[in-house]
């Protein structure tokens, strides 16, 4: 009995208790006898066990289906590169050539767009491309630049006509003359630069929150937005998204949501049809969105 009391007084270090829990101590180590007799050490042991259980919950996940196959495919590609060391260089050159052809084609076809003039110090970025890749179109941004005539301000009427026509063809599937005027007005509205605030709050109407959550997760993943930047909170009949995005990512997300049938109820910018905004596409913003069921 006296020996047990001594053991209790001289508690082992937390390192030993931890190692005891992991079965890393010799079974005849004095710690075993001590812990059996010491309520304080047993309590500590229980706490470590609870922490271990919580860690296991936090870090365990299902292995994605097809993981091995995807890895094997990647290894096979690597093997091909090793076996045909020049293949990679040839493919790279071919890719570079294709990019050059694309750029030349873009420049040639882009002559149909009317020449434009930057206004003030603001940088305005056209969103018709997929990225903020330097193909920024400076546009006329006079406050009343809503009439089609503004398009021809810096260009001849003929070239403006061609430009608007080509845009109509691109955006509306080549609609014919009767809708041309409306389409031009619509195009002009799309080219008016909008300000996107540092914090954007919007409300969307959705069919159900589960589908919306899947949709959003898919979009954000495709855009390579880090998971740490995203919070999705289910709250009864609504779903709340809080995300750290760039302006460009936000515009793409808004467009993708609209394209998937979600209805934007909030009038806050950016609206899906707006394709020009002020500032840099890489500027970070915080996006708060509420996805509510029904309209």
């Amino acid at each position: 009995m006296k020996e047990n009391l001594n053991d209790v007084r001289e508690c082992p270090s937390f390192e030993d208790i931890s190692a005891f829990l992991d079965g890393e101590l010799s079974p005849d180590a004095p710690v075993y006898a001590h812990i059996a007799a010491c309520p304080r050490c047993r309590r500590r042991l229980d706490e470590y066990r609870e922490i271990d259980a919580r860690i296991a919950t936090a870090i365990t996940t299902a292995t994605p289906e097809g993981l091995s196959e995807r890895i094997k495919a990647a290894v096979a590609r690597e093997n091909a590169t090793i076996r045909f060391p020049h293949l990679h260089r040839i493919l790279s050159l071919a890719a570079a050539f294709a990019v050059c052809c694309g750029v030349v084609f873009y420049i040639v076809t882009d002559k149909t767009v009317p020449p434009t003039v930057p206004i003030g110090n603001q940088q305005e970025v056209a969103l018709s491309g997929t990225h903020d890749d330097g193909h920024a179109h400076a546009v006329a941004s006079a406050p009343n630049a809503s009439a089609p005539a503004d398009i021809v301000t810096h260009s001849s009427p003929d070239s403006a006509f061609i430009s608007a026509g080509s845009l109509v063809g691109a955006s509306y599937g080549g609609t014919s003359a009767p809708v041309f005027t409306d389409a031009m007005a619509s195009i002009d509205r799309r080219r008016k630069p909008v300000d996107i605030a540092a914090q954007v709050q919007q409300v969307w109407a959705v069919g159900n929150t589960e589908d919306a959550a899947l949709l959003l997760t898919g979009f954000l993943k495709k855009m390579h937005v880090p998971e740490n930047n995203i919070r999705l909170i289910h709250n009864g009949n609504s779903l709340r998204l809080i995300a750290g995005l760039t302006k460009l990512e936000l515009v793409h997300l808004v467009r993708a949501c609209r394209a998937s049938g979600l209805e934007l109820l909030s009038p806050a910018a950016p609206q899906p049809e707006q394709n020009v905004f002020t500032g840099k596409g890489s500027t970070p913003i915080v996006y708060y969105a509420e996805f509510v069921v029904g309209k």
């Binding site: 390192e15 870090i59 292995t63 993981l67 990647a74 090793i82 750290g244």
Partner: protein, 208 residues
């Protein structure tokens, strides 16, 4: 410590003789296990898969030169831990550039010039309030994330793979005593974090 096994030797010999297909055995055997380790370290499916894929590609390139100083399993784990560490810090840097203050103060939120911006109820401005029920889970996740690299890696290898201290030491190329110390330190740090958040749950007294 796990040394190179007879199966490892056979596989390596076949690989060196030109049968590269035998590498698929390694992928089949270890991809899921390594994925779990990477996920434990990174907390993201996408990142974990990329890291594991990269690890296998690198292993494929280097297997010809593998010296057999440890088992293939230990070697692969070491590659994954190293790549995960790089990715972890890269993510953190990118995250900080992109403004990760989602849960923090939002300057300008209350004094927006645009009344349309107030179309979402005010409660949305305190998202953390929605997460109270998961507070302890979040604390554990955050606690793991904030552990020093070497402590976190040691803890993950122990808790995900249930590796012995000996194997962890071989994987991380450190001493067994160091592993013992890191694991105890990790548990103690998490205990203090949880004890601070929920004083009734854990004792405040420290064992010496």
């Amino acid at each position: 410590m796990k040394t190179v096994t007879a199966d490892d030797r056979k596989l390596i010999a076949e690989f060196k003789s030109g049968n590269k297909k035998v590498f698929e055995v390694l992928v089949e055997t270890y991809s899921a296990k390594l994925f779990q380790v990477a996920y434990g370290l990174l907390g993201s499916h996408e990142d974990a898969e990329e890291v594991v894929q990269d690890a296998f590609v690198r292993a494929f390139r280097a297997l010809d030169k593998f010296r057999g100083e440890s088992s293939l399993e230990t070697w692969l784990h070491r590659i994954v831990v190293n790549l995960s560490r790089n990715r972890y810090h890269w993510n953190r840097r990118r995250g900080s550039e992109l403004n990760l203050s989602i849960s923090g103060h939002m300057p300008g939120l209350d004094d927006s010039d645009n009344p349309e911006d107030m179309s979402i109820p005010d409660e949305s401005q305190t998202p953390d309030g929605q997460l109270e029920n998961n507070e302890l889970e979040c604390l554990v996740e955050k606690g793991i994330e904030d552990l020093p690299d070497n402590v976190r890696e040691t803890m993950i290898l122990r808790h995900v793979r249930e590796m012995s201290y000996d194997d962890i030491a071989a994987t991380l190329q450190c001493k067994i005593g160091t592993v013992k110390s890191r694991i105890a330190r990790g548990r103690e740090m998490l205990r203090l974090i949880l004890g601070h958040a929920d004083p009734g749950r854990f004792t405040g007294s420290k064992t010496r």
